[in-house]
Amino acid sequence: MDNTDKELLATIADLHDIPEGSFNIRKNGKLLARNSDKDIEIVSKTDKDGIDIIVRPGVKNKSVHIPVLLTVGNFQDTVYNDFYIGDGADVTIIAGCGIHNDTCDSAEHDGIHTFYVGKNAKVRYVERHYANGSGTGKKVFDPTTKIYLKEKACFILESTQLGGVTYTDRKTYATVGKEATLLVKEKILTDHEERAVTDFKVTLRGKGSRADIVSRSVARGNSLQHFRSDLIGKNECFGHVECDGIVLEQARIMSTPKIDAVSTEASLVHEAAVGKIAGEQLVKLMSLGLTEQEAENAVIQGFLS
């Protein structure tokens, strides 16, 4: 690993060294390093590019890192990762992706991730996307995440994209079983000419299922974001979608929430608020001695924290 790799790993996965336990580090479409243990097994797929991550039932307080690095231009990397989470397991999965592109050609990573989460299992899935590099080449992420939750399973998706990504089209599909819970916290910051599209389709299938999707976004420069959500209640369930956006300069944010109560027992709520930073917030912070720019940064930093 060179310094660029180390910097990217620290940013996307908080990794400053090779982690303990199971991990799989992929660089420019190839395996860079892997460790697989008895609790969390990592196996290469034989029919396509990707890995199976198998978490044994009942495994508690374990984490697995599967970061991806892309440091060349003119490269499109598609990877299929399937996660099999055993009943009663409780794990954290850190799956960041970092692109460093100094070229004029585009670098793209498309992670197709599917989660099969067993009964009573709990997963915290942390996904950070970040890109840098001096080249004019595009830095693109088009991830697809599919989540299937069995009875009383809980899935926490923390998705963060804080800069440098030229284009992203993120798709998340989830089917939530009986008394299972899906929690999503999405944070996106775009600037310059960047474009970000996020799409959620969540089906609350089981009785007593719940979903809470909270998206916070900041668009500045000439960037554009579009948040779309489709929440379907097919049983006695509760679903909540919240999309808050701050627009600055010439940026634009669109929000298209859809809720569909197929069952009369479904209770679905959506909230969306997009606008500039409230003047009173800036004034309050300026009255503490901050300049207008410092106040703006503090509001944005807090909003995306």
Binding site: R216, D244, A278, E280, Q281, V283, K284, L285, M286, S287, L288, G289, L290, T291, E292, A298, V299, G302, F303, L304, S305
Partner: protein, 240 residues
């Protein structure tokens, strides 16, 4: 010492297009180490005066002096750095920003738990329960108001501008408020209030009516005047 010299502030009435005076030729002195309570009917210009002092609005004419320096052209940020500290009547909420972060921004450094506890216990809140709370819709109006005051304490300064600090705070907590005022007694404290118990803490009381000062003086003198004119409490409301 803070001094207002013939300060006027007017706005253009949106409906009629005519100029409307909010404050007219106000001259006042706020001494060091003193508490002044400004009172008067709604719409008489009390909150506007606080805004002018903090630099949130600029006077149409006149001057504001702080220790002899003309601070009239200074921005909010510059006045905050000079030692002007405000607690707003209606505190603002911030999604994602914690009490701890706001106290840190207010104090200009990273306060330790002891310092945060000091600021929050002064307003009747337990630091352990609040420092990691977000200053958003999950806080009640009363909690928000106390945090606003805690921020003022954390920031410190020389001139404290407290706009209706009692609003939204339950009556039994008045003792907390009075303790805060006592704590600030070596500063220039300017409070807008209608509450008798807060008026009782004042060294000086300023009575506003419409766009000007009716009278100003020491607490005892002013209590006598207020007793003579109880109708002042029910004066007409001027829409701004």
């Amino acid at each position: 010492m803070v001094e207002l010299k013939k300060v006027s502030y007017s706005v253009k009435d949106e409906a009629t297009g005519r100029k409307q005076d909010i404050l007219k030729d106000v001259s006042l002195r706020f001494e060091d180490a003193s508490i002044t309570v400004i009172t008067g009917p709604n719409g008489s210009g009390k909150s506007t005066l606080i805004k002018l002092l903090m630099g949130l609005e600029k006077p149409t004419s006149g001057q504001i002096l702080f220790n002899g320096e003309d601070v009239t052209p200074l921005s909010v940020t510059e006045r905050a750095k000079r030692g002007f500290t405000i607690a707003f009547q209606q505190p603002v909420r911030f999604k994602g920003i914690t009490v701890k972060k706001l106290l840190s921004l207010a104090s200009g450094s990273q306060p330790d738990i002891g310092q945060m506890c000091n600021c929050l216990s002064a307003v009747g809140l337990c630091a352990r329960d609040y420092i990691d709370r977000q200053v958003d819709g999950t806080l009640s109006g009363g909690e928000l108001k106390r945090i606003e005051l805690a921020m003022a304490i954390a920031k410190g300064g020389e001139v404290f501008l407290l706009d209706e600090p009692e609003a939204g705070i339950d009556l039994w907590s008045f003792e907390d408020l009075v303790r805060i005022f006592n704590r600030l007694h070596d500063k220039t404290v300017i409070i807008v209030s209608h509450q008798h118990r807060i008026l009782e803490t004042a060294d000086k009381i300023v009575l506003f009516e419409n766009d000007r000062i009716v009278s100003a003086g020491k607490r005892e003198e002013m209590f006598a005047k207020l007793a003579e004119r109880p109708a002042l409490c029910a004066m007409r409301v001027k829409e701004v």
